[in-house]
């Protein structure tokens, strides 16, 4: 028999995973999705309690949570768009200008792994590799 506690435990675990994601991932969209997952954990809590108490107050609360989450999604995505326009990146760590005066900016020391560029990457968008690569003059004639 599944009890209230099962639901609560699962909800807590979901919340925790979402929290870890929010704290560690640097892509703002992923952070946002993790926050939504935390919302879902809370929503499960509410619905389980609603079931437990045999009334609908919890469900009503979850409806409001969904409404707020929708608002949040709208504003957050608009903000992401703005930030992306400015920084050409979705990295949350790019925005450090609100730090205290005199504190050096946090920079990443370990370099990113360089992916070896294989020959395939230079292939033409479609079709097989032509036997004869045309010179520029020929290309211009065509």
């Amino acid at each position: 028999m599944i009890t209230l506690w099962h639901y609560l435990a699962v909800a807590a675990a979901m919340f925790g995973i979402g929290l870890v994601g929010f704290l560690t991932r640097r892509n703002m969209i992923t952070m946002f999705l993790c926050a939504e997952m935390m919302f879902q954990g809370v929503a499960i809590n509410f619905v389980a309690f609603a079931r437990y108490h045999g009334n609908l107050q919890g469900q009503v609360f979850v409806l409001f949570i969904i409404a707020v989450a929708a608002c949040e999604a709208g504003v957050a995505l608009a903000l992401f768009l703005m930030l992306y326009r400015r920084g050409k990146s979705l990295d949350a760590s790019d925005w450090q200008s609100l730090r205290e005066m005199g504190v050096p900016p946090t920079v990443d020391t370990v370099p990113l792994p360089v992916e070896a560029v294989t020959e395939d990457d230079r292939l033409a968008p479609a079709g097989v590799r032509p036997k004869h690569i045309p010179s520029e003059e020929e290309a211009a004639r065509v």
Binding site: L19, F22, L23, T24, R26, M31, A92, S93, W95, Q96, S97, L98, R99, E100, G102, V103, P105, T106
Partner: protein
């Protein structure tokens, strides 16, 4: 509208309305600011007409007094302060006089101040000034009176410091404000003492009724009266607080006219007249008042002898004349208070006309001389400015007390009061005798310095300073018409209301406050009469002064015989009063200020030491604020975890 109270409220409201309109113009409409004088002139003119109607109504009423229904302003415990106005002969005369004089001053200044950049501001403050004075005159409650009293003080501060970019003007304004404030301390203390003594009443009429029924302790009453007198000394520029008034010349000349004639300095005299029932019960306070008045009168007259600044001569003459008024008021303990107050108020009344006239004439002179007011630099303006010359002559003659002019009658009344006090007074007859002599000497000196100024300005060869430029001609009609009107007043107002028909004294004889004072003073009413001997002596002295001035200054230049040079030097240096004050009060104050500053420095050092601790801590933890959102969230989550751990395991144990 026919109700006297409503009428009085309308008179009170008109300048306030004018002030609001002018202030609005000053703030917003740059283009319409040149019409800022219209509200004040209209308001004051209407007020003057209504004031005369009101005066007639009061005279016709058999009670001679109207009190408005009290309207609670605030109340706390025993203290009930209500907005209540009283219209009786005293306040009605003041109302009519203030509005009438203000009207002509306003008309004069609309021309005098023409083109000034603070034109609208000037008229806004002028309106507020008139409003405050009218409120002061009307209020029947001590705290309300104080409020308007301070309003007058603020307005004088603003107007004296009107040219606030000029350091001397700012300093003069500050001086005026601080000196009057010094007196106000005593004034407030006196009010609170009276409040306690007067059965916890703040209303003037209720307080007087209470105290005449239940006579208070004589010592306390004297103390309270003297404290009230402190306020009057500050406001009316009496010895030892008179030094601000001559410096107040830094303001525009119409302001001086307003301060000296209609508003501000007359407030102190009015206050004492209104509180006559209190002073009548305290002869000790009265002799102090009279003595201070006498000292001021002769001191100021002496200083005025050798001043070279035309306006300064007039300013010292005002101080001196106010001293006269206080002399008259001070006789109220020895002879009938009605007579004393009548004498003082009558002098106040006539003085308002001729002093306003003199100041406006001086303003006219100054206007055409391009702002120069030093009598050594111009002279012989008789031909150049005929109207100003004649009107100034009228004013000077009235001030000197030449026979049949208004100053003569009022001064005569004061001398009469002093004679009575010296002759038949109940107490301090010797003191009053000395004061009589003092005032007679002052009459001579007054005539001398007044005509000295007149001869130096208008007689002798024509001399015009280069600053005058093309201004050096008679002033425009908007300035000369008020001069002429006031000149007529200065000549005829005295003879019109007192010496033959006794209208003025009849009116005041019926003032309930003064009747109350009469009742408590146990003195006899003094019948109207004319003391030929006294008048002759006064006339002789005045003519003597005039003659001496004519002999010495008819050439329009100052050439002093060597014998009196030291005397004039003393006078020129104002008896070194400012220097004495500097040595006695300012220097010790400076030492005290230095000590305080050193202590302040020590405290500052301590504060810096203490503040360096959080600064150090801040420097230490500053790297935490690294601007990374996720770092902040992480700190929050970790903190929450720690908190939760604590909570959970505390509960588990």
């Amino acid at each position: 509208m026919s109700d006297p109270i409503d009428l009085a409220l309308v008179i009170l409201g008109l300048p306030l309305l004018a002030c609001i309109l002018a202030a609005y113009l000053a703030i917003t409409k740059r283009s319409a600011a040149k019409y800022a004088h219209v509200p004040l002139i209209l308001g004051c003119a209407t007020g003057a007409v209504l004031g005369i109607i009101l005066l007639l109504k009061v005279a016709a009423d058999h009670d001679h007094r109207f009190i408005s229904d009290p309207m609670t302003w605030f109340a706390a415990g025993n203290l009930k302060v209500s907005f209540q106005i009283v219209v009786d002969p005293l306040s009605a005369i003041m109302l009519a006089m203030v509005t009438f004089i203000s009207t002509w001053i306003a008309i004069f200044s609309s021309s005098y101040m023409h083109g000034d950049k603070g034109y609208a501001r000037f008229f806004a403050i002028m309106s507020l000034f008139v409003f405050s004075m009218l409120g002061l005159v009307l209020s029947n409650n001590f705290l309300l009176l104080v409020a308007f009293w301070e309003g007058v003080g603020v307005c004088s501060y603003l107007l004296v410091g009107y040219y606030y970019e000029k350091p001397s003007a700012a300093a003069a304004a500050r001086k005026a404000f601080l000196y009057t404030r010094l007196g106000d301390v005593g004034f407030l203390l006196g009010i609170f003492l009276l409040w306690k003594m007067g059965g916890w009443n703040m209303s003037l009429t209720a307080m007087f009724d209470y105290m005449t029924k239940i006579p208070p302790d004589q010592g306390e009453l004297t103390a309270a009266c003297l404290l009230l007198f402190c306020g009057a000394v500050g406001k009316s520029a009496q010895f030892p607080l008179y030094v601000w008034l001559p410096d107040a010349m830094e303001g525009p000349t119409p302001v001086s006219a307003l301060i000296h004639a209609a508003t501000m300095v007359t407030a102190g005299v009015y206050l004492l007249a209104r509180c006559a029932p209190l002073f009548a019960m305290s002869p000790d306070a009265q002799i102090v008042v009279a003595t201070v008045g006498g000292i001021t009168a002769i001191l100021a007259a002496f200083i005025a002898l050798a001043q070279n600044d035309l306006k300064r001569v007039l300013a010292y003459s005002t101080v001196s004349q106010l001293g006269y008024m206080f002399l008259a008021l001070g006789t109220g303990g020895a002879i009938s208070p009605v007579f004393a107050v009548t004498a003082a108020m009558f002098h106040l009344f006539t003085h308002a006309f001729f002093k306003a006239l003199l100041f406006l004439s001086a303003g006219s002179v100054m206007h055409s001389m391009g702002g120069v007011i030093d009598m050594r630099r111009f002279g012989g303006l008789r031909k150049l400015m005929p109207v100003t010359h004649l009107t100034f002559l009228c004013g000077a003659a009235a001030l000197a007390g030449l026979p049949l002019l208004s100053g003569f009658w009022s001064k005569d009344l004061i001398l009469e009061a002093l004679t009575k006090a010296a002759d038949e007074g109940k107490s301090y007859t010797g003191g009053y005798y000395i004061l009589l002599l003092v005032s007679l000497v002052t009459v001579f000196m007054t005539a001398f310095y007044t005509f000295r100024a007149y001869f130096l300005t208008f007689w002798g060869p024509e001399r015009i300073p280069e600053e005058a430029g093309h201004h050096a001609h008679e002033s425009p009609s908007r300035m000369t018409v008020p001069l002429m009107v006031l000149a007529v007043g200065a000549v005829f107002v005295g003879i019109a209301v007192e010496p033959f028909n006794h209208k003025f004294s009849h009116l005041l004889e019926h003032a309930p406050t003064l009747l109350q004072a009469q009742a408590v003073s146990h003195t006899d009413m003094i019948p109207h009469h004319f003391n030929k001997w006294l008048a002759s002596i006064g006339t002789a002295l005045a003519l003597g002064g005039l003659g001496l001035a004519f002999v010495m200054y008819r050439k329009g230049t100052e050439t002093l015989p060597g014998a009196i040079e030291p005397v004039f030097a003393l006078s020129r240096n104002k008896l070194y009063v400012d220097e004495v004050y500097g040595a006695v009060f300012v220097k010790p104050g400076g030492v005290l200020a230095f000590l305080s500053s050193a202590f302040d420095g020590f405290l500052d050092a301590m504060t810096r030491l203490i503040s360096s601790i959080p600064r150090f801590v801040g420097w230490w933890v500053r790297p935490i604020q690294n601007g990374l959102v996720q770092f902040y969230a992480l700190s929050m989550a970790l903190g929450l975890t720690v908190l939760l751990t604590f909570v959970v395991f505390r509960i588990a144990r």
